[in-house]
Amino acid sequence: MITFTINGEQQSLDVDPAMPILWVVREKLGMTGTKFGCGIAQCGACTVHLDGEPIRSCSMPLAAAEGREITTIEGISGEDGGINAVQEAWISEQVPQCGYCQSGQIMAATALLRDNPSPGDADIDAAMSGNICRCGTYKRIRQAIKVAAGIEQPSSEETAA
């Protein structure tokens, strides 16, 4: 039996402690916002927070979460229960294409901005280069991080044209 907190709720599960957190979250808890991409911590699609730090859940056994706090994309809403500033920026900059990697991108960006409220390009490179976007939305991810940080103004439908 492994006990941990996920998105603020305590959970105790009787599963193989070697099972990666990714599969526990997706299959045992039915939270499918966290994605399987590569299985070897190369793409970042499975990024969640463990005690606030971004980790690759495909390669982290559930045993590592014993007594700790997991946060997934389902658990990062803003203070009023709506979307947070990062998610808002992802919408204003129209970042996603297919969207499959974006849960992981947003989890990585959220952690970056908490640690560094005003990141420069090098900071963004360092924090985000573990996350692959096959649709190639990197330019917009960079811009959205700056918008979420308040460094750049958000685009509107009018300014985007």
């Binding site: 939270m31 994605k35 129209q94 996603p96 297919c98 969207g99 499959y100 190639g136």
Partner: protein, 758 residues
């Protein structure tokens, strides 16, 4: 007819389609199943109605648009949403013609039903092969393509076609026809001439009498109005939604984790924790099968339910994907021997070289011919010869291949439900029907968002596998491929070898162009340097066997041919001692105003003539594909000894862009896709199997390597309008190779580039 000529005739014929498209509204008027008509008894749309009907009081005006009692207008979109924004932009096109209130427009994925065959996409795909059909066939175009579409199960998302086909020829017509019917119904009720009624924000207004009503009020009556199969469409000056960067409707769900992809399929009535999962392994070498399997060690592992030897693959079914994949690792197997003589990458390229050697200077199948390329080359004062190589490539969408299937016996016989990410839901249905031996009508395909596709999900190999697993188990199973399986047992963008002989006259003008290569798939014109005026041209294909199976990969043949052609043109420019951009401008042939404009635009955007820092270089390439002309200009820095991408400037002309921000997003992504292939993309063969397995050795461009990208849009008004999804990709590799040459004098004739700088 040479292909240079064919291309022109395709253009003019395509231009005529827009007119026939309205007759093609014959599909609308004639009651064919492709585009619905008003809901009336006996009308085929009756069959569609229950599939798309929702709340109380809703009326189906036609099969592409639904108006609810709450005045919510639902655009029913037949194309899949794989990140290209088709759902939103098609709704935009329909809503604009309908004068709908955009804030009250919703998008619905069309159900997988034969009635939703995308006839105009079929036409776009089939046209190059049937363009010479006799005039007497013209009136039956739509009937013909309806039949073709039905036969081929075309409900396809590919070829950068959503806006060009369904948007232009169906959604807009549907919106305009629905608007006209609503106006007609209100005019009858109010006893006023239809011409006095204006429409705005989903409201009918008769200003003289002061009457107004929401569309919903007349939806039922509108369904009884005659349908105009060729309603007047808006002039661009009256567009309110088209041409605007409306935000995409699919994005909010994609930032909260709520968007469902095929991977996230949930089975009604089943707790996700109780679902079964399959991990699969196919033989490593294409065309071989499983001859022996030892599952002793695996069968008692945790959670294992069944271990299946399906001959063409092995499947382990377990209570979760982790347990399934752990057990699969413990299964050993033997495979049959491949009959292919090709075992290595070197073998594959030797086979290509032999085909080209055999073809010589004039053999092979002629793709385009003009003048006398061979003798002009022989007599040219300056001769240029080059050979270019492109490797096999996997698609590597972020969502690994997966498919969930449930096959069960019911009182009405066997039924099957499929949940999967697919570009071709109707073909997926047929594939499952074939695998299961049941009627396609007994199969429902649920296809949520696609986590990328790029052509991979035009294939149904995985659907067949999942259907067979589910038939064997009798309970629902979610089959997931590992990333390794996805990379190594896939279908591939073909490798190819292309040889050029070019002759320059005394002025440096390219007057002879003799080219032969081995792979020709689609589009037919990709290998033809048709935008340039080269008086003696011979383009030939000498087919050679491919060891790995083919599938369309973003921009298909343009992905290799763009690199080959635009590198060779650059070599010719340098051989002539000319500026590569000026050289291209000087070489442009007839009807190339759009090409001239995009080249001049990127020159301006990049400050092409400004002095350049030592060790840096700029390169340009221009490719017309899928109706869009794209020039890309890349700046690279080689001072560290390795290429660092600084800037990409792009100018595009798609005729008219329906959603500029969405278009830009597609072009930006297409460029990154092309640059990834240019720098890193390579699938090697070892012992007949694909070598690269995951993102550590099949590398992707990442945030820290992505250059600044600037996209300019030129709306020239050219018709038919061009696509967005693919045209950004083909110019990227040659522009980078040309930039590297400008920076270093090093000519790269082989992709990928990065490993050539170690």
């Amino acid at each position: 007819m040479s292909e240079l000529e064919t291309k022109k005739s395709e253009r003019s014929a395509a231009a005529k389609w827009s007119r026939r498209g309205f007759i093609g509204a014959g599909v609308l008027a004639g009651g064919a199943l492709l585009i619905g008509v008003g809901v009336r008894p006996g009308n085929p749309v009756g069959k569609l109605a229950p599939l798309v009907a929702g709340g109380e009081g809703e009326q189906l005006v036609n099969s592409w648009v639904k108006i609810g009692a709450d005045n919510i207008i639902t655009a029913i979109v037949p194309h899949c949403e794989m990140g290209q924004g088709a759902h939103s932009v098609l709704a935009q096109m329909l809503a604009d013609e309908l004068d709908a209130d955009w804030s009250m427009v919703e998008v619905m994925q069309a159900p997988t039903d034969g009635s939703y065959i995308i006839s105009d996409t079929a036409r776009l795909f089939a046209a190059p092969f049937t363009m010479n059909a006799a005039d007497w066939l013209e009136p039956t175009w739509d009937g013909l393509f309806t039949q073709l579409g039905r036969l081929a199960d075309v409900m396809i998302t590919g070829g950068s076609s959503s806006i060009r086909s369904t948007g232009q020829y169906q959604m807009r017509i549907a919106g305009a026809a629905a608007r006209k019917m609503l106006v007609g119904a209100a005019a009858d009720e109010w006893g006023v001439p239809p011409g006095e009624i204006v429409t705005r924000d989903s409201t009918l207004i008769h200003e003289v009498s002061g009457k107004s009503a929401p569309y919903a009020q007349f939806a039922a009556a509108a369904a009884e109005q005659p349908m105009d199969s060729s309603p007047a469409l808006k002039d661009p000056k009256n567009y309110r939604l088209m041409g605007k960067s409306k935000r995409r409707t699919d994005i909010p769900a994609k930032v909260t984790g709520k968007a469902d992809f095929g991977m996230d399929a949930k089975i009604p009535g089943f707790d996700p924790a109780d679902l079964s999962y399959a991990a699969v392994r196919r033989p490593p070498v294409p065309g071989t099968s499983v001859t022996a399997m030892d599952a002793e060690a695996a069968k008692n592992m945790p959670g294992v339910q069944q271990i299946l030897n399906m001959s063409s693959f092995i499947a382990v079914v377990a209570d979760g994907y982790w347990n399934a994949s752990q057990a699969l690792n413990a299964v050993t197997a033997e495979y049959s021997q491949s009959k292919s003589p090709i075992k290595t990458t070197a073998d594959q390229f030797a086979a290509f070289a032999k085909a080209l050697d055999d073809a010589g200077d004039d053999g092979g199948d002629m793709a385009a011919s003009r003048g006398d390329a061979a003798s002009t080359f022989d007599n040219a004062p300056t001769k240029l010869e080059a050979e270019y190589k492109a490797p096999f490539l996997a698609h590597a969408p972020m969502e690994p291949v997966n498919c969930t299937a449930w096959v069960r016996d019911t009182d009405e016989g066997a039924k099957c439900d499929i949940w999967t990410s697919t570009q071709v839901p109707l073909m997926a249905r047929s594939a499952a029907a074939g695998a299961l031996g049941i009627d396609a009508d007994d199969i429902t395909v649920h296809h949520p968002f696609l986590g990328g596709a790029f052509g991979r999900r035009l294939e149904n190999d995985y659907v067949t596998m999942a259907a067979r697993i589910a038939k064997a188990t009798g309970y629902p199973v979610k089959m997931i491929w590992s990333r390794e399986e996805d990379t190594q047992k896939a279908l591939y963008r073909p490798a190819d070898l292309s040889r050029f002989k070019g002759g320059l006259d005394a002025d440096g003008k390219l007057v002879a162009y003799n080219n032969v290569f081995t792979q020709r798939h689609d589009p037919a014109e990709a290998s033809v340097p048709g935008i340039y005026n080269i008086p003696n041209t011979s383009v030939r294909v000498a087919p050679a066997e491919l060891h790995l199976p083919f599938s369309a990969w973003r921009s298909v043949d343009h992905s290799q041919q763009g690199f080959f052609i635009e590198s060779f043109i650059d070599e010719a420019a340098h051989a002539a001692g000319a500026d590569p951009l000026e050289y291209r401008l000087a070489m442009l042939g007839d009807n190339t105003e759009r090409h001239k404009a995009v080249l001049e635009k990127v020159a301006e955007m990049s400050d092409w003539n400004a002095p350049r820092a030592k060790g840096t270089g700029k390169g340009v390439a221009i490719v017309e594909s899928f109706g869009t002309v794209a020039a890309e200009l890349i700046e690279v820095d080689l001072t560290s000894g390795k290429p660092k991408l600084l800037n990409v400037w792009t100018a595009t002309d798609a005729g008219y862009v329906m959603n500029p921000d969405g278009f830009r997003n597609q072009i930006e992504g297409g460029i990154v896709f092309g640059l990834t292939a240019a720098l890193y993309g390579e699938i090697d063969l070892v012992d007949g199997a694909a070598k690269q397995s995951n993102f550590h050795d099949y590398k992707m461009l990442r945030m820290d390597e992505t250059p600044a990208i600037e996209v300019a849009i030129i709306n020239s008004g050219a018709v038919p309008v061009g696509g967005a999804g693919e045209p950004g990709t083909p110019p990227a590799a040659p522009a980078l190779a040309n930039a590297i040459f400008a920076a270093s004098g090093k000519r790269l004739r082989e992709m990928p580039f990065a490993k050539q700088f170690t």
